[in-house]
């Protein structure tokens, strides 16, 4: 399974997770795992999603869409293929 990691970092507000989840479900993307912390009013969320069925262009579009969504709600949203993290942190 090809996985991607979505990170959301920024000031906490109502409905951040809902908006990101709606964005993903509208595009038929399955969420595999979510974890979230709030420290000092700052919101940190990490989401693992399944991108096995997506072609590279679609991943680009979704990545751009998430970035725009982040700008609208005032947080930074990034989508990265999981391998950059597994390469760095797993032997």
């Amino acid at each position: 399974m090809r996985k991607a990691i979505i990170t959301v970092v920024g000031k906490d507000s109502v409905g951040i997770i809902a908006k990101v989840c709606t964005f993903l479900s509208d595009r038929g993307i399955n969420i595999l795992d979510i974890s979230q912390t709030i420290t000092g009013g700052y919101f940190n969320m990490m989401m693992v999603v399944d991108v096995s069925s997506l072609v590279e262009e679609t991943i680009d579009d979704i990545s751009d869409g998430l970035k725009k969504l982040g700008e609208e709600i005032g947080v930074s949203i990034k989508l990265q293929l999981e391998e950059i993290f597994t390469m760095m942190h797993r032997i």
């Binding site: 990170t7 940190n44 693992v48 680009d60 950059i84 942190h89 797993r90």
Partner: protein
């Protein structure tokens, strides 16, 4: 089954990228031009243009795609080619012919939107062919008339000794290149490097060329990451040397893994074999992205203080140890770079009077690569530049390592002035040079013999 990635690890990686300047410095496609050799110049030029633009057609777009998908900046996309003094030996019969070939390479690089193209080079450590001599004589014009062409000359090796005829000639060519590019702060010299023991798979400029032992087309990757190591050493106060070494090693491992991923993916997408991963710590003028800052975090008041060579030796070795564990394709230069103009910490150390050319020379004996991006007064003599090159080559020759000199005799500038090259090349304080002459030494014709390969003590 491996454990899933957690938030802490994700944040650590993204912090490295967003706050500590972690990037892949370059993906460099090496292209052989040996099969383009021809006895006719225009036919040769046609063939090299066609081959380079065909092989590297998707290089830039592939680099950008990988960068987007993994969220890791890939700063430069570059090309290295077979040393032109070899590939062009049959067709370039004069320095002017080599300049024409350089202009064609520049045009190919522009058509592909790559950042640099290296390989306007000669390998003449034992002797010069007519083509080597003509290429060397063409360097000042070739570099001042082109935009992104980089040139290198390997004039010494542990096996062959130091070709002092080439050393003498290069002293003159460096001065001439500085004069011909005087309108842009002698910037042609920033694209020109002389080597001892040059590797044929180095992805970094100005010294990248595609060695004759390489396959037809390969992808080499250069990682960076001084800022990441510096950040890891933020809490270094009180650590013993073992902890210090471990910290550097672990960080180098992580940085190298990113390069390994990028190299593998680029190789797969382009259908070109992955050559090597060069795990050099390559600084940039950005604040915090500095090798000098790492040395100072290890406990030096300023880089250049007593202890600097020891600290650098340890840093360089730990970077290699971490990197070699992370990838089985480590090659190129792989160590810590200490270019003055590209490292704000080095610039500060020079300006504070802590660091001079002599200390830099000592530092080059324990790290890659050599006297790099050093500005000296414009009235420095060709013989003195040759003497500096010979000293550096001697360090490489005796210690069986790569050393290099990229020196800029800044036209019209004196010690204490500053020259600005812009972008990744940064700005450099003009450094004082020893005023005593070595002219009678470097004017001797011939070659310094290779050192003895036994009786090592």
């Amino acid at each position: 089954m491996t454990q899933d990635i957690n938030t802490v690890e994700v944040l650590e990686t993204n912090n490295m990228i967003e706050h500590n300047n972690l990037d892949v410095r370059t993906i460099t496609m090496g292209i052989s031009l040996l099969d383009c050799a021809d006895s006719d110049l225009s036919s040769f030029c046609g063939k090299i243009y066609e081959k380079i633009t065909r092989k590297a057609e998707r290089l830039v777009s592939t680099g950008e795609r990988i960068s987007r998908e993994y969220g890791i900046p890939i700063v430069n996309k570059r090309i290295s080619v077979t040393p032109l003094a070899i590939a062009g030996a049959g067709s370039c019969k004069s320095p002017e012919d080599f300049v024409k070939a350089a202009l064609v390479l520049d045009k190919a690089a522009a058509a592909l939107s790559v950042d640099f193209l290296g390989g306007f080079s000669s390998l003449c450590e034992k002797g010069m062919t007519e083509a080597d001599r003509n290429l060397i004589l063409s360097i000042p014009d070739a570099l001042s008339e082109t935009r992104v062409i980089c040139s290198s000359v390997n004039l010494a090796s542990t096996r062959s000794g130091i070709n002092m005829d080439a050393v003498r000639l290069m002293g003159e060519m460096i001065l001439s290149a500085a004069y011909k590019s005087r309108e842009s702060n002698s910037s042609a010299c920033a694209k020109l490097v002389v080597f001892c023991n040059a590797p044929g798979d180095n992805p970094f400029m100005a010294g990248a060329f595609h060695g004759t032992a390489e396959a037809d087309c390969v992808l080499n990757v250069g990682v960076s990451g001084p800022g990441v190591v510096r950040e890891a050493l933020r809490n270094a106060a009180g650590m013993d040397f073992e902890e210090l070494a471990e910290t550097i090693k672990k960080t180098a491992f992580k940085v190298t893994r990113v390069g390994q991923l990028v190299g593998r993916e680029a190789s797969r997408m382009l259908g070109v074999p992955f050559g090597i991963l060069d795990l050099s710590l390559a600084p940039t003028p950005a604040i915090g992205d500095s090798v000098s800052d790492i040395l100072e975090a290890m406990g030096l008041e300023r880089t250049g203080a007593p202890g600097t060579t020891a600290a650098l030796a340890m840093l360089n070795d730990q970077v290699k140890k971490g990197g070699i564990m992370a990838s089985s394709s480590v090659g190129g230069l792989s160590g810590a770079f200490i270019p003055v103009s590209e490292d704000q910490g080095m610039i500060n150390a020079v300006e504070a009077g802590a660091l001079g050319i002599e200390k830099l020379e000592a530092m080059t004996s324990v790290c890659s690569v050599g006297l790099d991006m050093i500005a000296v007064p414009g009235d420095t003599s060709a013989e003195t530049i040759s003497g500096i090159i010979a000293d550096e080559a001697a360090i490489g020759m005796v210690n069986q390592k790569t050393t290099a000199v990229r020196i800029i005799p800044a036209f019209g500038k004196a010690a204490g002035d500053t020259v600005d090259f812009g972008g990744l090349l940064g700005h450099a304080p003009v450094m004082k040079v020893n005023p005593f002459s070595c002219a009678a030494f470097v004017r001797r014709p011939g070659r310094i013999p290779a050192p003895v390969h036994s009786f090592r003590n």
